[in-house]
C-alpha cells in the first residue's frame, strides 16, 4: 500500500478524480502521520482533525455523486499560523494572540477552500514572522525533519517542515524577507514568493505590509503551479491587490531551457557564503547551462545595501502594525489593571511579546521617530528605489537571476539566537525580492552531509512562468 502521505498534490488530485482514492483514507493517513511524528518535529500548533475528516467525507460524497471538484480536490494543506482561519485559533506563535479565534477567513483561505482543499491545521512560526529559524516561537521551536538538531529555517518553519516530513501535502506560508524561501531551502522543498500584489493580504496578520505576501510551499514544482493558480487573484478587500489575468502556470512545465538567459550576481556569493553552498549552486547553474541556458556573472552593487534597507523598513512598519496588541479588543490581557491605561498597556505588551519582537518594535520606533525618520526610514525607501532600478536594468538583459537561497547550511538550534545581527545576515540573498516586489523561488539543488541546499531564481514582476519553467527543468534533471 502506498504511503499516501508521500504522494504529491498532483498525484492525489488525479487519483481522486479517477475514483482511485478516497479523501477520508488519504486524510486519515496524513492525520496519522502527524500523530506519529509531530510530537518530535513540532510543525503544527493546531491540528483540525475533526474538521478535516468532515471535509474529507464531504469530498468523497461529492465524488460519488459525480460532482465537479476544485483544482485542489481533497489535498491536505497546512496553513501558517499568521493566516486567519475562521473559527480556528490563529496565534502568530505569540502569547499576544494565544487564544485569538478569527471571526473571518483570510481571502486566500476562502480561495483554497473553494477549490476543495482540506486544511489539516495551523503551523508553527517565528513570533509575528520575525525570524529566520522558527526558534522565536512562544510555543517552542520546530525541528528540521532532515536533521532534528538543526533548525528548519523561518519564519514559516512549521509549514516547510510539514511538507518536508509529509505531514501535509502542500502548505501556505508568508514571505516578508525570505520567510518561505529560507525554510524551503533548509527543508529541501519548493517555496515561491509571488509578485507583490498578486496574492491578497487580507487576513495575513501584518508584520511588514509593503514587503510581505502569502506564499506556497510544495514538494515539487508541478504542485506549486496548482497551488499558485488557486491563491492568486484580485481581492477588493485589499487595496494593494492587483487585477491580474488568469495564468495557466502548468503551461510552463516545459522540457527545455533553450534561450533562457541567466544572470548570476556576484554579491549573492559574497563573504559569508558557505563553500559547499556555493559549490552546489554553481553546479546547478552549470547544469542549466548544459540544458541550453546561457549564464553570465554580473554585479549589482546596490545589493550591498539591501539587507540594511530591508530591516529598517520592516521593523519600522512592524512597530506600527503591532501597536494594536494592547489586549483590549482581543488577545492576551493582564489580570491586574489597577493602574492607568498607559501603564496597563505597557505591562500588557511586556508580557505579550517575546524578546525578538520587542527588539524590533523598539528599534522600529526609533527609525521612525522625529529626527531619525529621514536618516533611516526615508533613506531606506530611497535605497529601495536604487535597488529596484538596478534590478529592472538587469531584467532587461536576463530572464532570471540566480544564486543561493541561503548563504549557509541549516544551522544548529541555538547557534544564532544570541546575536540578532547574525540571524539577520541569513536573509542577505532573499530580501531583495521583497524590497522590489518581484517573484522569487527556492528549489532544492543539492545537499551537503544530507543537509539540503536551495538555489534561488529571481525574475521580473508577473514573470512567475519563467521561474516555474527554469525550476521545473532543473528539478527534473536533478532527479535523473
Amino acid at each position: 500500500m502506498d504511503r499516501l502521505f508521500e504522494l504529491t498534490a498532483f498525484e492525489i488530485t488525479q487519483r481522486m478524480k479517477n475514483g482511485e482514492l478516497s479523501a477520508v483514507e488519504y486524510i486519515s493517513a496524513l492525520l496519522q502521520r502527524i500523530n506519529d511524528i509531530d510530537p518530535e518535529i513540532h510543525a503544527y500548533l493546531t491540528v483540525t482533525e475533526d474538521m478535516a475528516l468532515k471535509k474529507a467525507k464531504e469530498i468523497d460524497a461529492k465524488l460519488k455523486r459525480g460532482e465537479k471538484l476544485g483544482k485542489l480536490c481533497g489535498v491536505g494543506m497546512a496553513v501558517k499560523d499568521n493566516i486567519c482561519t475562521k473559527d480556528i485559533k490563529t496565534t502568530c506563535s505569540s502569547k499576544a494572540l494565544e487564544n485569538f479565534i478569527p471571526p473571518y477567513n483570510a481571502t486566500v483561505v476562502d480561495f483554497i477552500e473553494k477549490e476543495d482543499a482540506i486544511i489539516l491545521g495551523k503551523t508553527n512560526m517565528d513570533e509575528f514572522a520575525m525570524g529566520s529559524s522558527t526558534e522565536f516561537s512562544y510555543f517552542g521551536p520546530t525541528l528540521n525533519p532532515l536533521d532534528n538538531s538543526k533548525v528548519p529555517g523561518g519564519s514559516s518553519g512549521g509549514s516547510a517542515a510539514a511538507v518536508a516530513s509529509n505531514e501535509a501535502t502542500v502548505s501556505l506560508g508568508s514571505d516578508t524577507g525570505g520567510s518561505v524561501r529560507c525554510p524551503a531551502s533548509f527543508c529541501g522543498v519548493v517555496g515561491l514568493k509571488p509578485t507583490y500584489g498578486l496574492v491578497s493580504r487580507y487576513g495575513l496578520i501584518a508584520y511588514a505590509n509593503s514587503l510581505e505576501q502569502i506564499s506556497p510551499i510544495t514538494k515539487d514544482v508541478r504542485d506549486l503551479t496548482i497551488l499558485l493558480e488557486c491563491i492568486i487573484g484580485h481581492d477588493k478587500k485589499d487595496s494593494t491587490s492587483l487585477n491580474s489575468t488568469k495564468v495557466d502556470y502548468s503551461g510552463f512545465l516545459k522540457d527545455h531551457a533553450k534561450g533562457l538567459k541567466i544572470g548570476v550576481p556576484k554579491q549573492f556569493f559574497g563573504e559569508g557564503t558557505d563553500d559547499n553552498v556555493s559549490k552546489n549552486v554553481w553546479n546547478a547553474i552549470h547544469t542549466m547551462n548544459g540544458l541550453g541556458a546561457d549564464f553570465d556573472e554580473i554585479s549589482i552593487e546596490s545589493l550591498d545595501y539591501a539587507l540594511a534597507s530591508y530591516y529598517i523598513i520592516a521593523i519600522s512598519e512592524a512597530s506600527s502594525n503591532l501597536a494594536r496588541y494592547d489586549g483590549i479588543r482581543y488577545g492576551f490581557r493582564i489580570e491586574d489593571e489597577s493602574q492607568d491605561w498607559d501603564v496597563a498597556f505597557s505591562k500588557n505588551r511586556k508580557e505579550a511579546f517575546g524578546q525578538e519582537v520587542k527588539r524590533r518594535i523598539i528599534l522600529g520606533t526609533y527609525a521612525l521617530s522625529a529626527g531619525y525618520y529621514d536618516k533611516y526610514y526615508l533613506k531606506a525607501q530611497k535605497v529601495r528605489t536604487l535597488i529596484k532600478t538596478d534590478f529592472e536594468k538587469a531584467f532587461t538583459q536576463y530572464d532570471i537571476l540566480a544564486g543561493p537561497t541561503m548563504p549557509i547550511l541549516p544551522f544548529k538550534l541555538g547557534e544564532k539566537t544570541k546575536d540578532p545581527l547574525e540571524m539577520y545576515m541569513c536573509d542577505l540573498d532573499t530580501v531583495p525580492a521583497n524590497l522590489i516586489g518581484t517573484p522569487a523561488i527556492s528549489i532544492p539543488c543539492g545537499s551537503h552531509n544530507d543537509l539540503p541546499i536551495g538555489i534561488q531564481f529571481m525574475t521580473k514582476p508577473f514573470n512567475e512562468g519563467t521561474l516555474i519553467q527554469t525550476s521545473y527543468i532543473l528539478e527534473q534533471n536533478l532527479k535523473n
Binding site: F100, I101, P103, Y196, G197, S210, S239, T240, L242, S302, D304, Y305, L307, A308, S309, Y311, S319, A323, D326, G327, I328, R329, Y330, G331, R333, Q339, D340, W341, D342, F345, S346, K347, R349, K350, K358, R359, I361, I362, L363, T365, Y366, A367, S369, A370, G371, K375, K379, A380, Q381, K382, V383, R384, T385, L386, K388, P420, L421, Y424, I436, G437
Partner: protein, 98 residues
C-alpha cells in the same frame, strides 16, 4: 531627541519604551542598549548609498485610486466581539483614564 549621537542612549531607550508602550526590565534596557547599537551600526551602511536625488519607493505596486462604493454592508457585530477579553454589557472595557 537630539541627533548629536550616533548611538541610542539608555535614556532614549526609556523614551522608546514609553512611546512603544512596552515596559522593559533593567536587564532588557541593558541588553537592548548594546544590541540596538550594534544593529544600528550595521544600518549605517546605507549612508554610503548615493540616493539623495531619488524619490522613495513607498509602494511597489503602481496602483492609484483604489476605492469602494459607499454602500453599507451589515456585519455580525457579535461575532466580531467574541474575542474581547473584558466586556461590560455591550461596552469594551479598557483600563481607566484619568
Amino acid at each position: 531627541m537630539k541627533q548629536n549621537n550616533e548611538k541610542i542612549s539608555k535614556k532614549e531607550i526609556k523614551h522608546l519604551s514609553w512611546l512603544a508602550k512596552i515596559e522593559l526590565s533593567i536587564e532588557e534596557e541593558e541588553l537592548f542598549s548594546k544590541q540596538l547599537n550594534d544593529i544600528l551600526s550595521y544600518f549605517k551602511k546605507i549612508d554610503e548609498a548615493d540616493v539623495e536625488k531619488l524619490s522613495p519607493t513607498h509602494h511597489v505596486v503602481e496602483l492609484i485610486n483604489v476605492m469602494r462604493v459607499d454602500e453599507p454592508e451589515s456585519s455580525a457585530s457579535d461575532e466580531v466581539l467574541k474575542n474581547v477579553p473584558k466586556i461590560k454589557g455591550r461596552y469594551v472595557k479598557a483600563p481607566r483614564i484619568v
